[in-house]
Amino acid sequence: MRTVIHCNFDLCTGCAICQMACAQVKTGGTNPRSALLEIKKEGLIYRPEVCAQCQNAFCLQVCSFEAIYRNDENRVLIDAAKCTGCGLCVEACQINMVSLDQRYKKAIKCDLCGGNPACVEFCPTGALEKITLGGNAGA
């Protein structure tokens, strides 16, 4: 079983509350630019982009320091103590969901807020949904 955030782009209003809530919880201040998820404008719609907690995670594969690991609930997490801030994982993620925290010089990514993601909690329309998939990492 794997918990991920599912995006219903058809319900997204572009309000950026998900990003502001993410930034508030993760950095202690709001600026959508420092959120760990993105909203992309495509034609007449907005499309949220969130970490997929990939079963085949490039970020995890390229880390030379074993700082990126998968926990019991199949969340892809970063061990800040082991992270050197080299940035290989940032380059590796093809959907730009890993970034480098400018203050601490460590890689950061969505950790689903320990299981209760703030973006989902604050989303006013249900555009972001926490769902459990049957996929089995490494299978």
């Binding site: 058809d10 209003t13 572009g14 309000c15 950026a16 509350i17 502001m20 809530a21 930034a23 508030q24 950095t27 202690g28 201040g29 709001t30 600026n31 959508p32 630019r33 420092s34 404008k41 007449l44 719609i45 907005y46 604050f122 006013p124 329309t125």
Partner: protein, 619 residues
């Protein structure tokens, strides 16, 4: 400790090209809070007495508040300047992301003075400020230039506030279009920007807004969300924006029709949420940080205007460009609203000006035709030609009408004064006041001229809301002063934070107080504190207006509203000069103003405005 503020203004002098960051003085922050408070105080301090609003000396300010850019629901920012339309104070509020980005770029406000020698735009990248040539962009529409600047800066995430051809050509009711397609619409701030040769301000900010007590703040935010979610008024806005006010205003008989001649319109349903949702809307859109999502995006699918991407035509535009011009084709009204946005014209004033022109043509006071189109009520093609002529100041009609209703009527002579619908130069909003005395009083006393956002008691006058647990008589000439003053003060206080009007329909006063307290670590002093703060700002605004030549006898209604309404539930109702005086004298007395509408020393002392420090800026 963090307190939601960035504690700096960016000051830019376009004449010298010099810019610098200025610390926000503690006294200013403590006494005026932000947004409207900062703006009105700095108008008094920084605008030279009697200055021409279109001269380099006028000051153009973009002001955020302590809650702007935070997770507090539905927050905005404002433009404050001296209006070229009224010659008095102008504060115009805008949603979207530009206001938040002011904070993220590191500022609580941007203060612009002077005039660039050539067309320019301002590029603020965090603390780095650059004045760039706008030669290739000058002349473009608001949305077109938004794209062009992003291409020049090679970043789609830049947030821009800019003007269209109307602002460039100093049309006195030109708007500023704020990221994305959210208008600081009223009062001609776009012309002030155009007079400074300033096409746009582009921002990119990476700083974050930090609050005093994060846990308490999140609790207050959640409370605000809950209040919005449980409010029936907010549900109506979520479902249909303000477009659903069209049939409401029609039913109660205050929907402007034929240049405010009448108050009901046969085509009301077609231009309301009913017609719009059927023909146009596809999905909801929201400003950053707003769960209400009053905006409705779609496109015109067939016909003459096919392919036009549409936003909701909110109540004011639907009424002013629809019923007021007797146009009931919703696609045409949508297109005309879009054209106003792109040309950079305030759709409300434009509807007022074109309604005036259509009546003037009917009465033979101006030519009957423009570019092959007969100028008459019901003609969207004539409205389109008039808009283009106004924005480009093309031809004699374009020149005449670009000045707004007041100046155009003055040129056309006394016959035109009979149907010139404006208050203090600002074309009135789409709430014809006949049959609703509280609305009339709010319009007469609004601090920026004919405005619907300064304490109009719509609920009390028109839909049965109680005041002090008692129903309110919509026709009563007394008892409205207290209600109007309460709302004027309350809303002025919230405009320091800076609230959205719609959010304030659901979020309770106590929650705003808690948001402010958790954000800043300071206290606004409860509901009384909000009244006191609002009163301070209101009185200071009045002093500015008087200083700039406001004549208190212009606290009045247009002549049109002294004539009986021909139809609808308010049929026969009108305001006599005596009616207006009864209401005004009660209002002045409750404001502790003199009988001729001037704040005296006593109220100034009481509000702590007598020995107030002043701010000066030297570069």
């Amino acid at each position: 400790m963090p307190d939601g503020y960035m504690n700096k203004f960016l000051f830019v002098d376009l004449t010298s090209g010099h810019s610098n960051a200025i610390e926000v003085p503690n006294w200013l922050r403590d006494y005026f809070i932000g947004g409207k408070g900062y703006g009105i105080k700095l108008l008094n301090d920084l605008v030279p007495r009697g200055c021409d609003p279109l001269s380099p000396d006028n000051v153009l300010m973009f002001m955020a508040g302590p809650l702007t850019g935070t997770l507090a629901p539905s927050m905005r920012a404002c433009v404050v300047t001296k209006s070229p339309l009224t010659g008095t104070l102008l504060d115009s509020y805008f949603g979207g992301s530009f206001g938040h980005e002011i904070k993220y770029a590191g500022y609580d406000g941007i203060i612009i003075t002077g005039r660039a020698a050539e067309p320019v735009y301002l590029w603020v990248d965090d603390g780095r400020v650059e004045i760039r040539p706008a030669a290739g962009i000058w002349g473009m529409g608001t949305l077109e230039s938004n794209q062009a600047i992003k291409e020049q800066l090679n970043d789609r995430s830049v947030k821009i506030a800019g003007i269209g051809p109307a602002g460039e050509n100093l049309v006195r009711f030109a708007l500023i279009s704020c990221e994305y397609n959210r208008q600081a619409g009223r009062g001609g701030a776009g012309a002030v920007m155009g007079a400074k040769n300033l096409k746009a301000v582009a921002l990119r900010g990476t700083q974050s807004v930090q609050v005093f007590d994060s846990d308490a703040f999140l609790q207050a935010v959640k409370k605000g969300y809950q209040e919005l979610k449980s409010s029936p008024d907010i549900k109506a806005l979520t479902d249909a924006g303000t477009a659903s006010s069209v049939p409401f205003a029609n039913e109660v008989g205050v929907l402007p029709t034929r240049n405010y001649y009448d108050g009901t319109f046969a085509g009301a349903n077609e231009i309301s949420d009913f017609g719009q949702s059927k023909h146009l809307w596809l999905r909801s859109e929201a400003c950053p940080g707003c769960p209400i999502r009053c905006s409705k995006v779609g496109y015109i699918r067939t016909g003459r205007y096919q392919g036009t991407v549409s936003d909701i035509v909110e109540y004011e535009s639907a009424a002013m460009l629809g019923s007021n011009l007797e146009i009931s084709d919703i696609k045409a009204v949508t297109y005309l609203t879009h054209l106003c946005d792109e040309l950079g014209l305030d759709s409300m004033s434009t509807g007022g000006v074109i309604g005036f022109a259509m009546e003037a043509a009917e009465r033979g006071l101006i030519p009957l035709e423009i570019e092959g189109q007969q100028i008459k009520f019901g003609s969207p093609l004539a409205a389109e030609k008039l808009m283009q002529a106004i924005a480009l100041r093309r031809g004699e009609l374009g020149r005449l009408l670009a000045q707004g209703v007041q100046r155009a009527a003055a040129e056309l002579g006394s016959d035109a004064e009979e149907f010139a619908v404006h208050i203090k130069g600002l074309e009135t909003p789409a709430w014809g006041p006949r049959g609703a005395t509280g609305i009339a009083l709010a319009l007469m006393t609004a601090d920026r001229g004919g405005c619907h956002q300064r304490g109009m008691p719509l609920g009390e006058d028109l839909s049965g809301a109680l005041w002090n647990d008692e129903p309110v008589d919509r026709l009563a000439l007394t008892g409205k002063g207290e209600i109007v003053i309460h709302y004027q003060n309350y809303l002025a206080a919230l405009d320091t934070l800076v609230k959205c009007d719609f959010g304030a329909f659901g979020i309770q006063p106590q929650t705003y107080l808690e948001l402010y307290q958790a954000c800043t670590g300071r206290d606004l002093g409860g509901a009384d504190g909000l009244q006191q703060l609002g009163a301070k700002i209101w009185n200071l605004g009045r002093l500015f207006n008087l200083r700039e030549g406001l004549e208190p006898q212009t606290d009045t209604l247009p002549k049109r509203f002294t004539q009986p309404l021909p139809s609808g539930p308010c049929q026969g109702h009108r305001f006599s000069p005596e009616d207006m005086q009864v209401m005004l004298q009660e209002y002045y007395r409750l404001r502790s103003w003199s009988a001729d509408g001037r704040p005296g020393q006593e109220i100034m002392n009481k509000l702590g405005l007598s020995d107030m420090q002043t701010m000066s800026i030297t570069t």
